[in-house]
């Protein structure tokens, strides 16, 4: 904050949160939000590698390079299920909020920690427990339902591993709720003096909106998953038509959580992008209020659109039409954000370090993801595209192209603050080129496959789909290589990176006003805020 009067002195250069207490035990019992954030980082990164392994397996199988199929149908379906469940529940949902959010939110607010540090640590262990329970289904009793667990397939026709997987997701849900609760209270109660609600950074607005979704929607998922368990073990007959239940009811429950969950994945990413665009354009964000309120608007509307996953489920035509029109409304706040980010670059002074490249990559991919979402929101069009590769391409553009690009950009952006060292800019750029290129090579052909009619979750397909599938597979290797380079860049940065200054990017938000890495309680002296968060004058 250039015009802000911030009375922060640098901590003793040799004393920071990383060396405040040493040994593994000091990490495992830490109440410091920054350390907890890093523990999430390590966990999520590991899970991401496992989920990525399944993804590469799926793609390699679908390329049909050999005469023999690489996987048998059951194994393929299990790969598909674990890829989806791990990536959604264990990587993309917790990725930005639990890792970057945990690290950044209190510092950006000028707080010493989150409101409930013990609860924060508990959230982490609940997440670990949930992930462990879910992962045990990989060992004991594998699941082939797909990550959506549609009934009656999940309750009547497949192994009991489903119970482990949904119990794991159920448990991780608590972690998500508690983190959300913590962020909301922290945002309301622990802002530095002078930091009014219209002076909080946009990352915070995004995390705040996300937290609202987390605490309102996640309980619905919890109940739904418990009902699956009850249905499977006790045969209560809520979803089983033979007992008078309704299998489509499950879809309503499931999407009532899982559609808002899409915004749990993308809103924090939008927060990261807002930070990156303004920092690397060296210019005040354009339309602060519009961006902030559009986050809240997206969060609100996200609860009213779940039925657009069900246009051909047997739900009534009128319901389909109502869900279609409400879904179209989501396009507006999304467009507002894109226009505001682009306007921020107008008459700025833009630089292109690796984090900015990821932000620009986000804009490119998310725009394609968003526009193709309009195809799917339109009922007459969706009937053809529903459950085809068009949908697969669309949501990968949004979730992977959106969230993972933002996550990578965010890691590289806040890396100097986390570790007091810089990552290699060249490493970051190479990683970006590979991921960005690979991503388009992998997923753009899938739009075409979908238009041609290839359904998703297919072990085998018609010969006319072969070429595009092979191109897609080659693209997936580029993505894999790109993340590998990214990982090496990060590890290299942690141990061998150049020493970072306190504010290497010349950004304005509070986290850059303390030392890199910050001291145990973030600031030596509590900062006082006198202006908005992006005052580049």
């Amino acid at each position: 904050m250039s015009s802000a009067h911030t009375k922060t002195e640098h901590g003793h250069a040799d004393h920071n949160y990383l060396n405040h207490g040493s040994g593994i035990w000091s990490w495992m019992t830490t109440l410091d939000h920054k350390r907890i954030g890093l523990m999430y980082f390590a966990t999520v990164a590991t899970l991401f590698l496992i989920g990525g392994f399944f993804a590469l397996g799926i793609r390699l199988h679908l390329a049909k390079f050999g005469a023999e199929p690489l996987l048998d149908p059951d194994t393929y379906n299990k790969f598909m299920t674990f890829h989806g469940a791990i990536m959604v529940f264990m990587v993309i949902i917790p990725g930005i909020p639990a890792f970057l959010g945990n690290f950044v939110l209190p510092i950006q607010l000028g707080a010493k920690d989150v409101a409930f540090p013990r609860l924060n640590l508990a959230s982490y262990y609940i997440f670990i427990a949930g992930a462990a329970i879910a992962a045990s289904s990989m060992i004991f009793n594998q699941v082939d339902t797909g990550w959506t667990f549609y009934t009656p397939y999940s309750t009547a026709k497949t192994s009991n591993g489903v119970i482990l997987l949904v119990l794991g997701a159920f448990t991780m849900g608590f972690s998500s709720i508690l983190t959300g609760l913590n962020f909301i209270v922290t945002t309301h109660k622990l802002r530095a003096p002078g930091m009014t609600m219209d002076r909080i950074p946009l990352m915070i607005w995004a995390l705040y909106s996300t937290s609202i979704i987390q605490i309102l929607a996640t309980p619905i998922l919890a109940i739904t998953l418990l009902l699956i368990g009850a249905e499977k073990t006790l045969g209560v007959g809520i979803f089983d038509p033979d007992l008078g239940g309704d299998p489509v009811l499950f879809q309503h429950f499931f999407w009532f959580y899982s559609h808002p969950a899409v915004y749990i994945m993308i809103l924090p990413a939008m927060g990261v992008i807002s930070e990156l665009i303004t920092a690397f354009s060296k210019k005040t964000i354009f339309g602060y209020r519009a961006i902030a309120y559009s986050s809240v608007a997206i969060a609100a509307v996200s609860f009213l659109v779940w039925g657009h996953h069900m246009f051909v489920s047997g739900q009534s035509t009128i319901a389909g039409i109502v869900f279609s029109i409400i879904t179209m409304f989501v396009g507006v706040p999304t467009a507002i954000k894109l226009f505001n980010w682009i306007s921020t670059m107008y008459r700025g002074t833009v630089t292109f370090e690796a984090p900015m490249l990821f932000a620009l990559g986000f804009m490119f991919l998310f725009t394609i993801g968003g526009l193709t979402g309009v195809f799917l929101a339109s009922t007459g069009m969706d009937v053809h595209f529903h459950d085809t590769y068009f949908v697969v391409a669309h949501f990968h553009y949004v979730m992977v192209g959106g969230t993972l690009m933002a996550l990578m950009g965010g890691i590289l952006y806040w890396f100097p603050k986390m570790f007091g060292r810089m990552t290699s800019d060249l490493g970051g750029r190479i990683s970006w080129v590979l991921i960005f290129t690979g991503f388009n090579v992998t997923f753009f052909p899938q739009f075409v496959l979908g238009a041609m009619g290839m359904p998703r979750r297919y072990f085998d397909y018609l010969p006319e789909y072969t070429n595009l599938n092979q191109i897609s597979t080659v693209g997936s290797w580029l993505i894999g290589l790109g993340f590998l380079v990214g990982l090496i860049t990060i590890i290299h940065g942690i141990f061998k990176g150049e020493k970072a200054t306190d504010n290497p990017w010349g950004a304005k938000t509070l986290e850059w006003q303390t030392s890199s890495p910050p001291p145990h309680e973030n600031f030596i002296n509590t900062p006082t805020v006198t202006a908005g968060p992006y005052d580049f004058r």
Binding site: N77, D144, G146, T148, Y150, P152, Y153, K157, P241, D246, P247, S281, T284, F286, G287, Y288, V312, S313, G314, T317, G320, S324, V332, I336, L338, F339, N340, I342, S343, M345, Y346, G348, T349, V350, T351, L360, M363, F364, T367, V374, F375, S378, T379, G380, M381, V383, H384, H386, D387, T388, V448, M452, G453, P455, R456, Y458, F459, D460, L462, R537
Partner: protein
């Protein structure tokens, strides 16, 4: 040839075997153009700014611009109008896809199971898809499918017709199409249903409608038509003691002309008597009580198989 054929992306779509497929593709072509224009405005604009406002020296200053109400209003309002247009266009097509015409030339009961489809014609002809029999339908005339499933949810997807519908256990859903030309069209299952999900493929074979009529009547019918079986069941279950078939009023509503008529219920709601309504009224009669009638009918849930219900419905449909 229309303007939409100028859009290369439409060439990836499967053949347009129905009129509706053409309409869907027109919307698709429009969406492609609208998306390209939006993409160029957004990403092109961004790229232009990136080049123009690239930082060239360390002491360069950015402009200080915080917002612009007029611009922000425009880029909220214009997308909203476009979205509403797309919504409306999609809705018009959706309603056509979802509303079968009054008279259909063929009506086929389709039952899905892991991993096959069974189709049963009104005269009792029945085919099991794993025997590789295509579903024979008349070209140039409307066919209506009444779908259900024996086990898990499946979905009946005909890319060439741009239409699909889930087959849900415990429920009847419907789908209709009218292929213009004779030909063979692929049907995929698009709701994940287990190990052989991708192998659950059948073909629809549309033949000229005279040929269809000959085929339909030629071979020996099944022993009894579904309607015949339903008639027997109607007698066995003593339905006639409460429901007349000649239009007279007994305890419950008459069956005469019931199918397709509008029903008004005691709670003030209304519905058209379609297959799903009949199914619900047979199994759980208390769900909807027709005005001026008592809630007297026993529940048949658990006592009748899906096939029994389908037969009864066919019988009721035949009482005109």
């Amino acid at each position: 040839m229309s303007w939409s054929s100028l859009i290369p992306a439409t060439s990836f779509m499967p053949i347009q075997a129905t009129e509706i497929a053409k309409e869907v593709d027109l919307l698709y072509a429009f969406l492609i153009i609208a998306s390209l224009v939006s993409f160029v405005i957004l990403i092109g604009g961004m790229t232009w700014f990136l080049i123009k406002f690239k930082r060239t020296s360390l002491d360069q200053k950015s402009a200080y611009i915080t917002h612009n109400n007029f611009a922000e209003f425009l880029w909220s309002f214009i997308p909203l109008v476009i979205m509403m247009g797309i919504f409306y266009w999609g809705m018009v097509i959706f309603e056509k896809l979802r509303t079968p015409p009054e008279d259909v030339a063929a009506e086929i009961h389709v039952t899905a199971e892991q991993w096959a489809w069974t189709y049963r014609y009104a005269n009792g002809k029945e085919f099991y898809s794993s025997a590789n029999d295509p579903m024979i339908i008349p070209a140039g005339k409307a066919t209506k499918l009444i779908l259900t499933s024996k086990d898990v949810i499946h979905s009946f997807y005909v890319p060439a017709f741009r239409t699909k519908q889930d087959a849900v256990p415990g429920k009847l859903t419907q789908l209709w199409f009218e292929p213009k030309q004779p030909g063979e069209y692929i049907v995929f299952c698009t709701e994940y249903c287990g190990t052989k999900h991708s192998g659950m493929m059948i073909k629809i074979k549309a033949i000229p409608s005279e040929e269809y009529a000959a085929w339909y009547h030629a071979e020996k019918k099944g022993a009894d038509t579904p309607a015949d079986l339903g008639k027997t069941l109607f007698a066995q279950k003593a339905c006639a003691s409460c429901h007349s078939i000649d239009g007279s009023r007994v305890v419950g509503p008459t069956m005469k002309g019931l199918f397709g008529s509008e029903r008004k219920f005691t709670d003030g709601t209304k519905t058209k008597a379609d297959e799903n309504y009949l199914r619900e009224s047979i199994l759980v009669s208390s769900a909807k009580i027709v005005e001026t009638y008592p809630a007297a009918m026993p529940l048949f849930q658990g006592q009748l198989s899906d096939e029994d219900v389908a037969n009864l419905i066919e019988y009721i449909k035949s009482i005109k």
